[in-house]
Point group: C2
Chain length 218, copies 2
């Protein structure tokens, strides 16, 4: 029952901004916070233009109120609806190394409707340990876990070498989307969603700014 955003596909950058609004509003108090917020307040916090905030919110069907601003709850609800946070997504974490276990245990995902139902690892030492409320399972169980929990999303946090092979296995097992934290590109058939999370990308900006910052004249 989407509001008014049928048809057009929302742009990547818009989705990101919506997520920033969402997390700002959450941080600001959510249910208990102020009941309304103006586009200017949001814009100021996120260092952007208030017109753009209004445009974005209009794009997902939220209407503001002159002199009052936007009702926080309406904004939050609309973003959740548009981003699909209302249908609880079950996910498995494949590869329970340091990063994988950090992701499995990350509590912020629940606010976005993401629930890690299982973690798997091929290291016998990790198997059987408790992570995110469940027991770490051997890789052999991959297919059965996916089937049993009807999982559509996999968080891939294995080393580079086995990444592609495991991705293939995930796809064969019916996984519909892969959130890839392995620092390598993986190839999947058309129709399967992949998002490559490239942590070092952030370093490009940091290193560049560090190099060019005024106080840098050694």
């Amino acid at each position: 029952m989407s509001r008014k955003n049928q048809g057009q596909t929302l742009k990547h950058v818009l989705l990101e901004r919506l997520m920033h609004y969402y997390s700002y509003l959450g941080q600001r108090g959510g249910e208990q916070g102020p009941e309304t917020i103006s586009s200017a307040q949001i814009a100021k916090f996120l260092n952007m233009d208030d017109t753009l905030v209004r445009k974005d919110l209009a794009a997902i069907g939220v209407r503001g109120h002159p002199r009052v601003g936007f009702r926080t709850q309406e904004v939050v609800a609309a973003i959740r609806e548009v981003l699909g946070f209302n249908e609880a997504h079950k996910a498995i974490v494949v590869g329970a190394g340091r990063l994988g276990s950090a992701l499995a245990a990350y509590s912020g995902f629940a606010k976005c409707g993401l629930f890690v139902v299982a973690a798997l690892d091929n290291d016998p030492l990790k198997q059987g340990t408790i992570l995110a409320g469940t027991v770490v399972q051997p890789m052999e169980n991959l297919e059965s876990v996916i089937r049993r929990h009807n999982v559509r999303l996999a968080i891939l946090s294995v080393p580079v070498e086995p990444a592609q092979e495991i991705a293939d296995r995930l796809v064969r097992a019916g996984i519909r989307a892969i959130w890839n934290f392995a620092p390598t590109a993986i190839v999947v058939p058309e129709g399967v969603i992949v998002r490559h999370e490239h942590i070092a990308v952030g370093l490009a900006e940091l290193a560049y700014r560090l190099k060019h910052s005024p106080a840098d004249n050694v």
Copy 2:
């Protein structure tokens, strides 16, 4: 000794694309890989327009060769130079939880000139353990470690609650840039660089696409 990019500040999106070129070329073989590459090859892999690749490379002063393409080594060298990967950056990891230790141990940073020289945590159980080749230190040592190693960059991976306070301490101790993995905004004085790495942002795109993917008609 930058090539020809004096004056203008490179845009965020350009920096990101440079990083993507860099990691593609690295993945493709670096030193041992093919000696040249065409803008069309890069563009195809990254799903973009080849003109944009040429524009980007021209912007950082790399010249291609008609009929031949770009010399891989020249491109790599120019990106390293522009992004500041040639001056080795020392970093500390503050908060050696799962995410922090994953970051401290991540081997991909070295290719970008980033070296983690120490990790700190206030958990006595973690103190003294080995991480990234060094001993995890108590938080009391923060200032002395920064001074001793002349560290300018801090990777912040502590819980939300103490994040701001620790950030303040980092700034007072002379840290010039903070790479913030705590899921909360932190405030720093002008002149200090902060990059907030917001992992859940990626989820916005994934959840949205999962919701709107064609095969989703349950």
